[in-house]
């Protein structure tokens, strides 16, 4: 029996399942009790999960493929507008929305991927920034697709299949479900030849070429994957808030997502989740209880900014490394206690 438990706890998804159950529990507490979990907390966790999805894509791009992008937030926005338009105009199940957005993401991701083969490093950052600026211009310029500066409101909640119409509370489970599926997908990518090819490419392009790895293919693929993740996050954003406005996907969101990935310190979903929850949930749940942060909603960005600098200057590896080192220390202490020896 204990052996069985041990085996289960070693399964790579074990931690994620526990997390998912915990998050389900939180929402159930919110829905069926009076005030143990507040609306703010429920909303904050839903938003953190949405940002986690976008950040996981960025994590694949940065952590696996060694590329970088400053356009994540703009792609979240694009996904949101496409979803809003589909949800308003057509009565289609949720997966059709995802499918449509994915197709657009593949096209855009491919374009940036091809561009990325011609320009490197700093050039690429500036190019992605320019790309994001173009999209932001599209968002705020008055037109029917984005609704201009005031955005789109009154988007209906999505429906799952034929009968299941979601509402303000149940859309949380949709977000959680999509996040969980994408966690599994991310793990599969990391452990696949594709993931290793991207790693090889980020380590050295000469090495990758010599090993028969087509660098163009994997650069394009990395951008396509991260764009899909970002745009799916946008779909969920609109699904849960029922509105889309251009202020939601500014450059600061891109930077915060970047900070979350850097703070997490790894392309693995565990790292990205730690980073995102540390940056977004902490801000939305904890800091908002202080009057100072209520009056100055932007103040929490100081932490994201400072964390980026500290991690690059003093602690490469971020939270992932921190947790690993803590675990080593605990194992050492436990072993030391068992053998009755002192720590020194």
């Amino acid at each position: 029996m204990t052996n069985n438990l041990k085996q289960i706890s070693k399964h790579p998804l074990f931690g994620y399942v526990i997390l998912a159950l915990g998050l389900i529990g939180l929402q159930l507490l919110f829905m069926f009790t009076d005030g143990i979990v507040t609306l703010t907390v429920s909303r904050a966790i839903a938003m953190s999960m949405i940002y986690t999805i976008a950040a996981m894509g960025l994590g694949i791009l940065m952590g696996l493929a060694g590329l970088a992008s400053l356009g994540t937030a703009a792609f979240v926005g694009l996904g949101a507008y496409i979803a809003a338009n589909i949800l308003i105009s057509f009565h289609v199940p949720f997966f059709v929305v995802i499918l449509a957005v994915t197709i657009v993401a593949i096209v855009i991701g491919s374009i940036i991927g091809f561009i990325s083969l011609r320009v490197r490093g700093l050039h690429l950052l500036v190019i992605t920034l320019a790309f994001a600026t173009i999209l932001n211009e599209l968002f705020i310029t008055p037109n029917n697709f984005t609704g201009g500066p005031s955005g789109i409101t009154n988007v209906p909640f999505p429906e799952l299949g034929m009968f299941l119409q979601l509402d303000r509370e149940t859309v949380y489970f949709l977000i959680l479900g999509v996040m969980f599926l994408l966690i599994m997908l991310t793990l599969n990518i990391i452990n696949s030849p594709t993931g290793r090819a991207m790693l090889a490419m980020s380590s050295s392009e000469s090495l990758a070429k010599a090993m028969g790895i087509n660098v163009l293919k994997y650069r394009v693929l990395a951008f396509v994957i991260s764009t899909i993740y970002a745009m799916i996050a946008g779909v969920l954003f609109v699904s849960s808030l029922t509105a889309a406005s251009p202020a939601s996907w500014n450059f600061m969101l891109s930077l915060n997502l970047l900070a979350a990935v850097i703070l997490g310190g790894s392309a693995k979903p565990s790292g990205v989740i730690m980073g995102c929850f540390a940056i977004f949930t902490l801000d939305l749940v904890v800091l908002r209880n202080f009057a100072f942060f209520v009056q100055n909603p932007s103040a929490s960005m100081v932490f994201s900014g400072a964390l980026i600098i500290i991690i690059y200057a003093k602690f490469p590896g971020g939270l992932t490394k921190l947790v690993q080192e803590a675990r080593h220390l605990i194992i050492k202490i436990v072993k030391g206690a068992k053998h009755g020896t002192s720590l020194e």
């Binding site: 970088a68 320009v119 500036v126 190019i127 211009e137 310029t141 970047l258 960005m301 980026i308």
Partner: protein, 294 residues
């Protein structure tokens, strides 16, 4: 034709602002080897400081301008001494990431220190120049002309200093190879700190000029200009000082022209055009191609 010239005249002040901002970004990039993504927000601080002096303390606009620029010089210098000098081991990407972190920190502090309501700043000169030529009337604001002339003069002075003075020689030596420059006895740490200071000062001057012309100082005022400066840096090529500045003249001029044709979509068209240019000439219009060693 006449209306086109008028549009260029209206746009002249923006060319001045862009050139100063791009000069700043190029200077830090070349000497300190950092693409300073935070320069725009840093410059905004300068504009806020100047506006604060003017509005809250009743200081004369000219002295407020000097105040804003000096504060920005100090902030830039301090950032290099306190933060960037510890980042030498983390490579170009690490340093860029630090400037991205700085954006978050500085933009968090602006509303805390200066509040969330935009500030006003007066034009340095009121009124317009008007003249008749070839049967049409042309008009330019005195302040716009002043901005353009001052910006161009400062750029010229910095260029002359770069190429004719000992300081300029040291900057260029640091830019071409910091290690060798250090071996030759140049205090490269001081050089990079100084270039952080000077480029922040240039950028804040640009921000104050922009604030004065539009009589409005707000947190996002430099966002687009900083992005365009970075694009100008890439488009002009990393190898020269002149290229980016020429890029900074071309881009706002082209936007103004495009605005005549396509109105609302001018910016989108322009960015697309710049992207295509960079794609066709990845090393920049004035850049040199280097061979990759395997």
């Amino acid at each position: 034709m006449a209306s086109m010239i008028q549009i260029l005249l209206n746009n002249l002040f923006l060319v001045g602002v862009m050139v100063l901002s791009t000069l700043g970004i190029t200077l830090t990039f070349k000497t300190a080897n950092v693409a300073n993504f935070a320069q725009g927000i840093l410059a905004t601080v300068g504009a806020f400081v100047a506006a604060f002096f003017f509005m809250r303390m009743g200081v004369d606009p000219w002295i407020s301008l000097v105040g804003g620029v000096v504060v920005c010089f100090i902030i830039g210098y301090t950032i290099d001494v306190l933060i960037m000098s510890f980042m030498s081991s983390s490579g170009a990407v690490g340093r860029v990431m630090v400037t991205l972190g700085l954006i978050l920190i500085i933009s968090a502090f602006i509303p805390i220190i200066f509040g969330m309501i935009p500030y006003n700043f007066p034009r340095f000169f009121a009124g317009n120049f008007t003249w008749e030529m070839m049967g049409s009337t042309f008009i330019i604001t005195r302040n716009g002309l002043f901005t353009f002339v001052t910006s161009m003069s400062i750029t010229a002075i910095i260029f002359i200093a770069l190429y004719k003075t000992k300081w300029g020689l040291m900057v260029r030596a640091t830019a071409s190879n910091a290690t060798v420059a250090a071996m030759l006895g140049i205090n490269t740490k001081r050089m990079t700190a100084l270039s952080w200071g000077i480029s922040s000062a240039c950028a804040s001057l640009a921000a104050v000029f922009l604030g004065a012309q539009t009589t409005n100082v707000h947190a996002d005022m430099m966002a687009v200009i900083a992005t365009i400066s970075l694009l100008a840096l890439v488009m002009g090529g990393f190898t020269s000082f002149f290229g980016p500045v020429i890029g900074a003249i071309i881009i706002p001029t082209a936007t103004a022209m495009l605005a005549m044709i396509s109105g609302l979509w001018a910016n989108v068209l322009l960015y697309t055009f710049v992207l295509l240019t960079i794609l066709i000439k990845p090393m920049g219009i004035f850049g040199k191609k280097t061979m990759e060693k395997v």
